[in-house]
């Protein structure tokens, strides 16, 4: 139960950071998605089912807070958690978190997440699907994966200290 509260607390913290501070890191309008990294972490720790549910809950919360496009974040973050769940291994959680595999998972999950998000988000505009995927989806994915290095270093350091 304590773990759940801890997750909720961190979730709120990540959302606050994402909505207030990440905009300062924007490059050509592209920003990293810290929430995706957090969902990947949750999924790798708790499994695919929990990752999907957490993804949905976090996404729905963001949708309600932002009140821009209800349901879109819930959909994409649910799928993000589900995709990350394919890399879940109960016995190798720490190993995955502290190696390049974590970046691979973030990369894949963020790519799927961003592709769906931007394809849907740019419908009804003159932005083509290809441009939505390449310009917004791919660059945001790479930026998010780059930001994934920070927790990766943290996990690796923690892993080293524990030895």
């Amino acid at each position: 139960m304590t773990r759940v509260f801890k997750y909720i607390f961190v979730t709120l913290l990540v959302i606050v950071v994402q909505t207030t501070m990440v905009q300062f890191l924007a490059l050509q309008g592209i920003t990293p998605d810290l929430i995706v990294i957090w969902i990947v972490y949750l999924t790798l720790c708790e499994g695919q089912l929990a990752g999907s549910i957490w993804g949905f809950g976090i996404g729905l919360f963001i949708d309600l807070v932002s009140s821009s496009f209800l349901g879109l974040s819930a959909l994409t973050k649910t799928i993000c958690g589900f995709v990350a769940g394919y890399f879940y291994n109960e016995n190798k959680t720490q190993m995955i978190l502290s190696t390049y595999r974590f970046l691979v998972v973030v990369l894949v999950a963020a790519f799927v997440h961003n592709t769906i998000y931007f394809v849907v988000f740019t419908r009804g505009t003159d932005v083509s699907v290809l441009r939505a995927v390449a310009q917004f989806g791919l660059t945001s994915t790479l930026y998010t994966a780059t930001m994934g290095l920070l927790p990766l270093f943290g996990f690796a350091r923690k892993q080293m200290l524990s030895r």
């Binding site: 999907s52 549910i53 949905f56 949708d63 209800l70 959909l75 799928i79 589900f82 849907v120 419908r123």
Partner: protein, 277 residues
Amino acid sequence: MQRLFNIIRDFKEYVVLALLIVASLLLLSLNDNTQVRAIRSYTVALVGVLQDAVSVLPNFFALQRENELLRQLNVNLSDEVSRLREARLENIRLRELLGLKERLPFRLVPADVVGKSLHLQRNTITINAGSADGISPDMPIICETGLVGRIVATSSRYSIGRLVLNVDSRASAKVQRSRIVGILAWEGGELLQLRNVSRMDDVVPGDLVITSGYGSMFPPNIKIGIVALAEDEKGGLFKRVLIKPSVDFTALEQVFVIAATVDSERVALEETYSKRK
């Protein structure tokens, strides 16, 4: 049920994913912005393409239902065709009867044949008109094609008629072409007989035979039939003349009774003269 639960448990990640995606899509559908409108139009187009593709395949249940409806329609139409055909035939019959009624100078009482016997020695018909309609015994019965017989018994609403195809039936008849007179009788079979025709008389097959009007029962010039056979009797003084009735008794459905009473003065005179002789 247990099996279903087992399947759900085995694939719980996918089941949950599907439920969450459905919930998300439902939430998405609540939006009314450009993106959702565009997605809706794509969805409609996609569904249209899929429906077009699927419509090539026959829908078994729809075909079965359509088949049932068509069969029902077929039965209804067949029934209607049958009724229309019947109405057409009745129309033709009634027109002929109407023509007959206009031709004859008598009051005619129309009636439907409600019972008949044709395979006995004494064949009769029962009609649905009786004394309440002005019918009384000895009145002639005719139809559009000729002489049928005469009334022998009546009740208020029904009457029994003796057909010419009856061994007790007699009528005065004549050959229309040569005016040869004879006695119409029947002894069984499909043909009538014209008796008392001399070997010298001019009667040939194909001659039309009509009522003569010499008897007191039947008015003159009612068609009886066509001479089918006319040959000399061996060692006799008369011809054997057989007549094919003009009336198809097997198909007889509607008749007229000639509401003409017997001329009692004429009958009385004839009887008086006969007694004197």
